[in-house]
């Protein structure tokens, strides 16, 4: 009898644990997004140059690669994730300032659009509870191709390629939102700090790419 109870309670424990990861991830994600928006505001108020933005982004990415994986399983992971999201938000500041000076409605549209895309995709993954783990390889190859194309375009400077990259980033990052959310639901991702970092990056990349697309195709870039 006791054995039966143990077997029966295991899935419930697993579901509770999954729900806890989801709740903690979305709580931390909303806080880091607010903090990142504040950092972007500071960057705009300080009239930070593109160079300062790039340095902040590089420091943020380096912390994401080398510091976060070592601290994500401890309490130190919280200040680290805030530092990373703050630096990445600060890095986006000069770009947002540029589009605000050209057409503020584009920034608002990109912000709202990013919110709708994220909530829609997360809602889809959470309600259907589909397992998107099969997309892992496809998404990583897509990411590699995008980064390679972006590297090439730094030297070639082809506007059409730049727009294509932005469109592809939106697609791939949408896939990453489905993949990460599904990974949390199915127990593949149990660390809410790492899950937050992944979802934050997807949201930030969708926002900047959408801003670029709307700025260019809206006729004001």
């Amino acid at each position: 009898m006791l054995g039966n109870q143990s077997v029966a309670s295991r899935p419930i424990e697993s579901v509770l644990s999954t729900n806890k990861v989801i709740r903690s991830t979305y709580q931390l994600l909303s806080m880091t997004l607010l903090f990142s928006a504040f950092a972007a505001y500071l960057s705009i108020a300080m009239q930070a140059s593109q160079g300062m933005g790039l340095v902040a982004t590089i420091v943020g990415i380096v912390m994401l690669w080398f510091v976060l994986p070592r601290t994500a399983n401890s309490a130190a992971g919280i200040p680290v994730i805030f530092a990373i999201t703050g630096l990445l938000g600060f890095g986006v500041g000069p770009m947002v300032a540029y589009y605000l000076s050209v057409n503020p409605s584009i920034v608002m549209t990109a912000l709202g659009g990013t919110g709708v895309i994220f909530l829609g995709l997360s809602g889809y993954a959470l309600t259907t509870r589909k397992d998107f783990s099969f997309m892992g390889g496809f998404l990583m190859v897509g990411l590699l191709v995008i980064v390679g194309a972006a590297l090439l375009n730094i030297f070639m400077g082809i506007p059409a390629l730049s727009l294509t990259i932005s469109a592809a980033v939106i697609m791939i990052m949408s896939g990453f939102i489905l993949y990460e959310t599904s990974s949390i639901i199915h127990g593949g991702e149990t660390n809410y700090i790492m899950a937050t970092a992944s979802l934050f990056l997807s949201i930030l990349n969708i926002f900047t790419s959408l801003l670029h697309l709307l700025g260019a195709l809206g006729g004001d870039d």
Binding site: F134, G137, I154, I170, L178
Partner: protein, 61 residues
């Protein structure tokens, strides 16, 4: 070439170096998706494409 381009290129090269082993690992360990699985991925993706097109049209007025 200005240092902004050099810095951006260095960041992207670093990304390629970091992504490469993860991509190889993902390629080896990712389960194969059925046509049903891919359909469930394409539906939200098409919705995103449509939504972005709508936003572009909205901004163009």
């Amino acid at each position: 070439m200005d240092w902004l381009k050099i810095g951006s290129a260095a960041l992207l090269i670093g990304m390629l170096v970091m992504i490469w082993p993860r991509m190889r690992h993902a390629m080896k360990h990712t389960p194969k998706g059925t046509s049903e699985d891919w359909k469930s991925f394409l539906i939200p993706l098409i919705a995103v494409v449509g939504f972005v097109a709508f936003l572009i049209m909205m901004v163009r007025g």
